[in-house]
């Protein structure tokens, strides 16, 4: 587990958070606090974002992610802390004084203006020459594939088209930083998926820095190079999608990002590279030693359902070298066919329930398990994580 994590970390290091030339991040958020009356919406968030990153702020509603984004856009002023963009503090600057643009969740298209005038709005305010505005608008229209729609009003467009106009309008001024507030929330599932791809492609092509706010962990995982998870105003973990999924820092994050099995227990012994934990309802489990030494004795063992394998009979022979294998006996209590995979619930003899997701790699279901079937649940010590919080 430890080695594998190092590998994940190394892969992350290749994605620089700092500007390649100056070593300075494009955006530095430093101890930012925002209160609304007695409620602390953002509680001392510090974060560096490098040029060209696609960064996602992920969290449940009310966690402060949108407030943080609005502070970057200038709609809220932080009560404490600094926001440095390219080295200068913009924390108290007004929205129109910042080289930052935002795409709103409601799109906020001006209903009295045509598509063309909506896109040109920011350019006119910047005092751009007429001919240049026409060129830039044409460029933006082509970029978001809205050719032929220039004269339409927003109410004559479909949801997907409005989303594109909003994107073009926010990109037209070529901001140093583009903020996207739940940009895909209003689209249906199919359109959302294709738009995710287009946004990523656009961000790569323009080399612009995007910060997206979303409550959809799948969306964040798909698009972002790094994800910052927020809870109750605090940034609880900043990591690559992979690290966030495979090495969550707390039980809360593990449960928020994807599906997970959690078993509480007491730390029993520490051997070479592995620890043994006596869980309350899943017997004794062997887990690879975590990066940071375990401080507490009451911990949780977390394992993702797709890493939990099932078998019809006990596996024989334990490998002396390599990871230890945890084996648990139980009865299948629930089977749910999902197309690409099948989700099983297994009632363990030790008392707990474990969820397992098995990919359907063959059309015939000769491998499928049925309800009430006795099975052996197994996973290696490398596939699970010890969580203290």
């Amino acid at each position: 587990m430890a080695d594998e994590l190092e590998g994940i970390k190394a892969a992350d290091a290749a994605r620089p958070g700092a500007h390649p030339a100056t070593g300075r991040p494009l955006l530095r958020i430093d101890g930012v606090v925002k209160n609304f009356g007695a409620f602390r919406a953002v509680d001392g968030v510090s974060l560096d974002i490098g040029a060209g990153e696609f960064f996602a702020l992920l969290g449940p509603s009310g966690c402060g992610k949108t407030t943080l984004l609005r502070m970057l856009a200038g709609f809220e002023a932080p009560d404490a802390g600094r926001i440095l963009l390219g080295g200068s503090d913009i924390a108290q600057a007004l929205p129109h004084e910042r080289p930052v643009n935002m795409m709103f969740q409601s799109y906020a298209l001006f209903p009295h203006l045509s598509v063309r005038d909506n896109i040109a709005f920011g350019l006119k305010r910047a005092g751009m020459a007429r001919a240049d505005i026409a060129t830039r608008v044409a460029e933006m229209v082509a970029l978001v594939k809205l050719d032929g729609m220039e004269k339409r009003k927003p109410d004559q467009l479909s949801g997907g088209q409005r989303q594109r106009v909003a994107l073009a309008r926010a990109l037209a001024r070529r901001p140093q930083l583009l903020l996207l507030d739940e940009p895909l929330a209003a689209l249906d599932k199919k359109l959302r998926e294709s738009t995710q791809g287009e946004l990523m492609e656009l961000q790569r092509r323009l080399g612009m820095t995007f910060i997206i706010v979303t409550h959809d962990q799948e969306e964040a995982m798909t698009m972002a190079t790094r994800i910052g998870v927020m809870d109750a105003g605090k940034l609880v973990q900043v990591a690559s999608p992979r690290e966030l999924y495979e090495a969550p820092r707390s039980r809360w994050i593990a449960q928020f990002v994807g599906d997970i099995n959690l078993f509480e227990g007491e730390l029993q012994s520490r051997e070479a590279h592995r620890v043994t934990i006596a869980t309350r309802d899943a017997g004794t489990l062997v887990v690879a030693e975590p990066r940071a030494p375990v401080g507490k004795t009451t911990v949780s063992v977390a394992i993702r359902p797709e890493k939990v394998k099932l078998s019809r009979r006990a596996l024989d022979g334990d490998a002396d070298q390599g990871p230890a294998i945890n084996r648990l006996e139980g009865t299948v209590s629930d089977v749910c066919y999902l197309g690409g995979s099948t989700a099983y619930k297994v009632k363990l003899d030790a008392g707990g329930t474990v969820r397992s997701a098995i990919a359907n790699t063959a059309r015939r279901d000769s491998d499928a398990y049925s309800v009430n079937q006795r099975v052996v649940v197994w996973f290696t010590s490398n596939d699970c994580v010890v969580l203290e919080q």
């Binding site: 129109h96 209903p111 001024r173």
Partner: protein, 270 residues
């Protein structure tokens, strides 16, 4: 659209009765304004005689001119004040006593006019203000600004707040964002509010009679004092003209607010 629901005979009858109740007196008034006879209740054939009479009646024309000036001036002042009040109430969501303020703004809507008129009269007397055009105009502004505020506030409430933020984000200072985005979107409501204030001022008798002074009677006051001496057919002619004017204004106002609400739908977030 499926089946067109049909009116039953009872519905038709009650509708006709209701409309007759509302409009028969006005219809009779309009018809009799074209009466050639000097007697109000005797039909003497069609004529525009009383309209001619009115246009030659200097005192009546002056009163009508006074009323129009008061209506335009007070409607304009009420529109500015009412719009500002509506903005303060719909934007400043957090400020203390907001509920109290909006309640206080709406109170004059249900306040008996006699009380409003009397209190304003006492105020003007206390201030030793010379009563005339300006006192009536100010009094009408107090009466009508809350109507404007209600109309504009409902429009502002349906407007997506992020529209103004988007304008600021795209390089507008707050005042510019208001002028370029919010104002065009609430303009129909402002126009409707102005029209409403104009008609309210034009037909007000109670408050005007409290707050006006000698030599500056408004049209309703003038008509009322004439009628006390006996109804001349000329009055019918004047009233028909006023009805015509108000009808035009009301139609424009309702068209404006219809335009406003149809834009509102497109402005609403998805």
């Amino acid at each position: 659209m499926g089946k067109v629901s049909r009116l039953s005979r009872f519905n038709v009858a009650s509708l006709a009765l209701g409309l007759a109740f509302l409009y028969l007196p006005i219809l009779i008034l309009v018809i009799y304004s074209f009466n050639a006879s000097r007697l109000v209740t005797v039909w003497g054939g069609w004529s525009l005689r009383w309209y001619r009479e009115f246009f030659n009646d200097r005192a009546m024309i002056e009163a009508a001119w006074m009323s129009l000036r008061v209506a335009v001036a007070s409607a304009s002042m009420a529109t500015v004040l009412g719009t500002l009040a509506a903005m303060a109430l719909s934007r400043g969501e957090g400020f203390r006593g907001r509920t109290l303020f909006s309640g206080m703004l709406y109170a004059p809507l249900v306040m008996p006019e006699v009380i409003t008129g009397l209190s304003l009269l006492l105020l003007f007397v206390a201030l030793n203000a010379e009563r005339g055009f300006w006192t009536v105009t100010i009094a009408h502004t107090t009466l009508t600004m809350c109507f404007v505020a209600v109309v504009v506030q409902s429009r502002l409430g349906s407007l997506d707040r992020s529209l103004e933020e988007a304008a600021m984000d795209l390089g507008c200072a707050p005042v510019r964002a208001f002028l370029l985005v919010t104002l065009p979107l609430i303009a129909p409501a402002i126009v409707a509010g102005w029209m409403l204030a104009f008609t309210l001022s034009l037909d007000d008798l109670v408050i005007a009679s409290f707050t006006t002074g000698p030599g500056s009677a408004t049209l309703p006051i003038r008509i009322y004092s004439e009628v006390r001496l006996g109804v001349k057919p000329e009055i019918n002619a004047i009233c028909t003209l006023v009805i015509g004017l108000i009808a035009i204004v009301i139609v424009i106002a309702s068209l404006a607010s219809k335009l406003s609400s149809s834009q509102g739908e497109s402005a609403a977030p998805l």
